[in-house]
């Protein structure tokens, strides 16, 4: 995973409230056995409109996407995070996310940045014409117009994103604790383990 710290560039001002994962990547794109190449299908239904933001010359290669409340709701498909990442987006900014989407985003090196609605509205305005800067270490979002918004992030997520860390290797360090839990279940609740069939 690529480490993420400072991201600067144009932000796609999508805004859309309750933008679900079917909108981010329609189900027919899920028929893949690989993680790559999903950017082509990202926001496909919105992109049938010839004037859509994603295909406009202005927002090509934008590293930031601004969404609305409850971004990434609906289906748990991680393909949504892969598709957004494949578009080159490293940061999504929205007032709130579905829990599943924000977890998936972090695991794929994308920062699901939360700011209050007023701040998001202001950034939507700036994004029409100017770039936005995100600094994960400092936990700030700034614009060329002296706007400066501080955001909160769970320290563990921050560490994973900054270091580009793989969660499985972190968890493997807890092997002894996992084994102890397994031992406790087999002796106290043996019925919890399904019989071999």
């Amino acid at each position: 995973m690529n480490p993420l710290n400072q991201v600067e560039g144009r932000a796609i001002p999508l805004g859309l409230k309750n933008c679900d994962t079917d909108v981010i990547i329609p189900a027919h794109w899920l028929k893949t056995v690989s993680r790559e190449g999903l950017g082509k299908g990202a926001f496909e239904t919105l992109r049938t409109d010839p004037d859509n933001l994603f295909d406009s010359a202005e927002f090509q290669g934008s590293p930031i996407l601004i969404g609305g409340d409850n971004f990434g709701c609906g289906s748990s498909r991680e393909h949504a995070a892969w598709a957004i990442g494949d578009l080159g987006i490293r940061v999504v900014i929205a007032p709130s996310y579905s829990d599943i989407f924000s977890g998936n985003a972090v695991k794929n090196g994308i920062l699901p940045l939360v700011l209050p609605q007023e701040a998001v509205d202001r950034l939507m305005e700036v994004a029409q014409t100017d770039p936005i800067s995100v600094d994960l270490e400092a936990q700030t979002v700034t614009t060329p117009f002296q706007d400066r918004f501080r955001f909160e992030i769970d320290p563990f997520r921050k560490m994973c994103l900054l270091g580009g860390l793989d969660e499985i290797s972190i968890t493997e360090q807890s092997d002894a604790a996992i084994a102890a839990h397994e031992e406790k279940i087999s002796s106290n609740q043996p019925w919890m383990i399904p019989a071999a069939q």
Partner: protein
């Protein structure tokens, strides 16, 4: 004295392997369900890193999302090939990955095959008090038997396969209490549609919802699974219904359920899980069961619910300006005008199935309405897709398949089918479908498809009249 705890807190506490300084916990996962769509990349990741599956014995794989619902064997009993190359590749990947990693696998032609969330409880693989995950958001379904069950993404699937744990933040708790008795023809589906309308599609975000109250207690397990299935439509991480004697009776003697002394020990433990008197939830919503009518969605968010006796709302009637915009967009997509009576809306397609409504009771409820009736001529496509091979066999033993076929509906093989249109079952663009599934999102049932979420009895009623219909009118 120990602190009074909710059902959620008891299950959570029993699964904490380790707590990090920031409050994140490493949680042990008791059951992992795997299907073909969200697992190939996880298995590929394991292979690339040279990792094994830590607990194949706690893992069960079954294909469901893109298996065709047409016949799977020819007259001679040979397996029929799957024509869609990409679907075939995903199915082949699971059929290889499961045995390669030593995981139990129910193949698509087995009698036990079905939608993963129907199969788990039906096989007794899903148990009360267990933590259950699957790479599918409707894993919340298993909360209907009192399991803490939630959907995960593919990286998490890989994480669980490798470590049998997940790193999670504790959720907040929300109680949705439905008190009293529902009116005639009001099913579990109507209850959960109504709840979603009341709390909104983001109402449960960050929370685990426990459904309580007399209207929930009096539901069968099938009904409880329907309720918990759609916890995610209210934005919640998971749904929960406390296990009770109804749950125990449902699970007893299921293939993977505990047997003999183990069973007694399990039941004793399950009984201890109910929320303690005096425990508090972060949020409580109280609903009067008598207020719930047979319900239907008009828009493209599951919160867009009205009683079937209602009208398509005017976007201007919503207080929230962003909801006004969303509602206007929904109506445009749905091809509806404000003020139209829902019961005047014609439908061309009927889908009875999905992990929300494909269990035996759902089949019975639809058949009760269709018995001795025919589908309307304007209904071009009407399919009934049982949730598993066992549901299918049971329905056929009861003669329900004949009722459906005589009424002009198609009786299919089990799978997800038109719920998400990954297999050939799709609703054509611009056409409407009365669907018993759980999502009415744009394009969910096929590009341009217009979905109205309803109960099985309501879908059957729509099949008969060719319009969204108050099922109570057909029950006189």
């Amino acid at each position: 004295m120990t602190k009074a705890r909710t059902l959620y807190e008891k299950i959570w506490d029993a699964h904490v392997v380790e707590q990090r300084p920031d409050g994140t916990c490493l949680i042990f996962i008791d059951r992992h369900l795997v299907h073909e769509v969200t697992s190939p990349q996880a298995f590929a990741g394991l292979r690339a890193a040279g990792r094994k599956v830590r607990r194949p014995d706690l893992t069960l794989a079954v294909p469901d999302h893109n298996v065709p619902t047409t016949a799977r064997r020819d007259a001679a009993g040979n397996k029929l090939p799957i024509t869609d190359a990409e679907s075939a590749a995903q199915l082949a990947a699971l059929a290889k990955n499961a045995p390669d990693f030593g995981i139990r696998y129910i193949e698509e032609t087995a009698l036990e095959q079905g939608i993963v969330h129907v199969v788990g409880p039906e096989q007794g693989f899903s148990l009360p008090g267990a933590t259950i995950v699957c790479g599918d958001s409707h894993t919340a379904c298993h909360g209907g038997i009192g399991a803490l069950a939630f959907g995960i993404g593919t990286s998490e699937v890989e994480h669980v396969l490798a470590t049998q744990t997940l790193l999670l933040q504790p959720a907040k708790t929300m109680e949705v209490r439905v008190e009293g008795e529902v009116g005639p023809a009001v099913s579990a589906k109507d209850i959960i549609l109504h709840i979603t309308g009341v709390i909104g599609a983001a109402g449960g975000t960050g929370h685990v919802i426990e459904y309580t109250g007399s209207a929930i207690r009096s539901l069968s397990i099938e009904g409880r699974l329907t309720i918990s299935n759609m916890a995610i439509e209210g934005g919640a991480r998971a749904g929960l219904i406390a296990p009770d004697d109804v749950t125990f009776a449902y699970l007893k003697d299921r293939p993977y359920a505990p047997k003999g002394d183990d069973w007694d020990a399990a039941v004793a433990y399950w009984k201890s899980l109910a929320t303690d008197a005096g425990a508090t939830y972060d949020k409580t919503v109280i609903i009067n069961a008598a207020d719930i009518a047979p319900s239907v969605t008009w828009g493209t968010s599951p919160e867009d619910v009205v009683p079937i006796t209602g009208m398509v709302p005017d976007p201007a009637s919503f207080a929230d300006p962003s909801k006004q915009i969303a509602a206007a967009k929904s109506l445009e997509y749905m091809g509806l005008t404000p003020g139209t009576k829902l019961s005047d809306v014609e439908v061309q397609n009927i889908f009875i199935g999905s992990c929300t409504n494909s269990r035996i009771e759902d089949m019975r409820a639809a058949a009760a309405i269709l018995k001795g009736r025919k589908k309307a001529d304007n209904v071009k496509w009407a399919i009934v897709v049982p949730g598993s091979g066992l549901v299918k066999a049971q329905a056929e033993a009861e003669g329900l398949d004949k009722i459906f076929i005589d009424a002009g509906l198609e009786w299919r093989e089990p799978g997800c089918s038109a719920c998400l249109a990954m297999n050939p079952d799709k609703v054509p663009a611009g056409e409407r479908c009365a669907s018993t599934s759980n999502r009415n999102f744009v394009g969910r049932q096929g590009p341009g498809a217009r979905t109205h979420l309803v109960s099985p009895a309501m879908a059957a009623a729509a099949a008969v009249t060719g319009k969204l219909t108050d099922v109570r009118e057909l029950m006189a």
